[in-house]
Structures are given as C-alpha cells and as structure tokens.
Point group: C2
Chain length 258, copies 2
Amino acid sequence: MSKPLILVSNDDGITANGIKVLVEAMTALGEVIVVAPDSPQSGMGHAITIGQPLRLFATDIFKDKGIEAYKCSGTPADCIKLAKHHVLKGRTPDLVVSGINHGSNLAVSVLYSGTMSAAMEGAIEGYPSIGYSLADFSHNADFTHTIEYVQKIASEVLTKGMNKGVALNVNFPPKRDENIKGIKVCRQAKAHWEEEFDQRRDPYGRTYFWLAGNFVNNDKGEDTDVWAVDNNYVSVVPCQYDMTAHHTIAQINDDWDI
Amino acid sequence: MSKPLILVSNDDGITANGIKVLVEAMTALGEVIVVAPDSPQSGMGHAITIGQPLRLFATDIFKDKGIEAYKCSGTPADCIKLAKHHVLKGRTPDLVVSGINHGSNLAVSVLYSGTMSAAMEGAIEGYPSIGYSLADFSHNADFTHTIEYVQKIASEVLTKGMNKGVALNVNFPPKRDENIKGIKVCRQAKAHWEEEFDQRRDPYGRTYFWLAGNFVNNDKGEDTDVWAVDNNYVSVVPCQYDMTAHHTIAQINDDWDI
C-alpha cells in the first residue's frame, strides 16, 4: 500500500518554525509536499488573489528531508488552489494540513484565520483537512508538547476520514509545566475581539491607526474551544463552510411580509 | 422618533457605482454614514489588517446628498471596526449594509466575499447587517431593478430585527427583460468554483499565473441561492459566523479513539 499523500501549508510563511514542526510531524505519516506562502499572511481570512498574478517557485527549504516544497506569492487559499492544479498534477491528497500557527485561532477568529482558510479550501476541494494553531504568538514558541497530538489527530483523520464540507480547527494550549490533559471535541465559543485602535500621527501630521485589542470570552460553556485551551486541553472544532443559518430561514418566511 | 442610523460599506471601493446606488436607496430609510475602502477589495474574504497601519480620511464624495463619508485604506472588515471606534463615536447603527457588489456572491463565494465580510463583521458587533450583490460584474451594471428590493429587505430588518449572530446575504439577478419574480429565502448552494490558472511567462522568462475558472453548480435543490438568482428571484441567505459543524461533534466523539 502506498503512503498517504499529505499537502502542507500555513499562513505564517514557509520559513516559520510552525510549518517546520508540522512538516517533520507529517513525515512519519506519509509522503509530504509543501506549498506555502512566501511571506506572512496572518489575518488574511479566506482572501484569494484576484486582479494580480501569482508566483509559484520551487524551494529547497526542506531538501535535507527529501521533501518537495514550493513558495507562493499568494494567500493560504491560493496555495491550496495552485497546489491542486500545478503541483500535485492529478494526484489527490489524502490529507491537507495547515499550520502550526504561531497564535491561537479560537472562537470567531476562525473567520480571520489564514491558517484555517487553507484547511477550509482543502475541504471545499473535497480533501480531509486540518488547521493547527498554538496559543503562543512568539516567533520561538515551544511546539514540542503538540507533536504527539498533531500526529494523533492526523492519523485519526487519515484512518477514519472526514465528513464532506467539514475541516478541523485544532488549537493547542501554550507549553506549560503541566502536561496536556487530552483532546476535547468542541464548539466555537461565543467570544470576540474588543478592538482598540491606537491612533498616532505620522511625521507629516496625518493620522494613522494600528489595529489592537483584547479577546473577550463571555461564553460560560465548558464545551467550547476557549474553555478547552484555557484548561490545558487540545480543542478540536469541526468547521463547515456552509454558513447558512438554517434555523433562521423558516423564521424569516414567517415574520417577513414578502 | 429619530431616524434609524445606517452604516454603509462595500468591497468595490467608495467610488464604485454599486455603493452610490446603495447610499441613495438608504437615504429614504434613515440617516446614512459611509465608511468604505479607498480601493477595490474584491476577494479579500474576512481579511483584517495586521502588521501595517490604517488610514481613515473624510471625503466629500457624497456631500451633494449631505452624507458624511470616509474612505479607509483597509479591508471591508477594517472599515466596520474603524467606523465603530472612530466614526460613530458611541452611536449604535440600527443597520449595517454592504454593497451593492458588482458580481454575485452565491454559494461558497460567501467565504471569499469582501462584501459579506463587512456584513459579517457588523453581525459580530451585534448590528443587524445585510450584504447586497448583483449578478453582473460590469462596471456599468444596471442596478435600477434592485432598488425596491434593497429598500424592502432593509425595511424588514429595521422593523423586525435580525437574530444574533446572523447576517443576510442578498443576491440580485442581472437586469433582464422580465421583472424580478420576488424574494426567496434560501440556503447556500453546494456549488463551487472550478479554477483554472492561466500560466504565462513574464518578459524575464519567469512563470506567473492568473487565477481564473468557472462556477459549477451540481446542487439540484430549488431552495438554493443559485437556483433563485438563475430563476430571476432575489435570494436571501441568512448566514452565521458560528462555523461549528455541530452534527460532527458527536460523530467524532463516537468514532475516534481519544
């Protein structure tokens, strides 16, 4: 039996530590091909590149491990699309993994996350897909405690498959003295960002703003991704790209005069 | 009773015809304030601007109608965030509208749509929100047949409110000889883009790609947004930002060895 084909991408860019950890973890499970952005794409959401051309170049960044890798000038979603059409050449990946993101993608952050957009794009193409994020923003974040769980979750998906239209959003707690307690399958918390804009003046006297803010969780549930990571569990949220609020359809038909 | 406060944005940029039509339609319903991107942002998905500063400047583009307007260097989602914190100054909009987009945002396109990301950002902030799109990409698209429906739907939302966590994705058929048949409340079709990349060589001999492709609908349902617009109805899809695939949680708990 041939080894599973695993496509790896991310949003922090192909030189980030997180993707290096992920590539190494995946080599134990199958044949790995990397197509990732050539520069950081954090906060790109599900952006795609329209109106300007894309570049895709082979890179020897993972050559010491014998792994084929490409860097792309576009977004994480672009990477998956280009991989399908110009790298995989008719082969179908058994798994798409994205990350490991430097920083969490919990609750509504899934909407803004480039990491998850690569995974969702994989799901749209019909591939079992997982986005991995670590709740530690630092460039030198310690990923060692995540590796066994990264492999465990990928193995489960390779073995048992994934529902059509669904990708997994996996978040790891930061490295703590205590070991990770296990895996929780969660719902997306009803938490949000409370932005603050840092208003400054440039040397020419004109105003500019930096987006900043705090993550606020008013969701008391213990079945949420935020709760799991806060309590030193790995959170796994199955995410779907059908955004229809089905419960609201009947209600609008009842309430509206149309 | 004071007039409702209506915040208007879009993704085609503040000079697009579609936002002009939307602003004019909204002046009949309330007090309008515009905060929109200073340049086209199509395909930006739910991107936000991290790592570089944002500009926000007043513009007299709608001064002839007595309407306060601002152009922003960021994405549609940035516009809504900046509007909340630096334009509305503590006032709460009764409605956020985005569009009218030049081009449809049907089916899975909702994920890539800057138009809908402004509306979803409004919903995240707790404001009743609507994204409007016309299934006609042309710069000089005819919007005349949409106006009564743009106002009708906005009026219904202003009067009857919107479920928390939900924004409406409204798509109009292109102008045809036949009148629009009415409004259908729909689900997001299981349709997708089949990309093709146009591969070229630059004057230096290096390869580049243009993203292109066709929209393919294999969803036979007559309750979808694609069906509605194809059949000359206005489609209204209630969209939620909780992307949890709730049905999959129990299944993973059953199937996986965790």
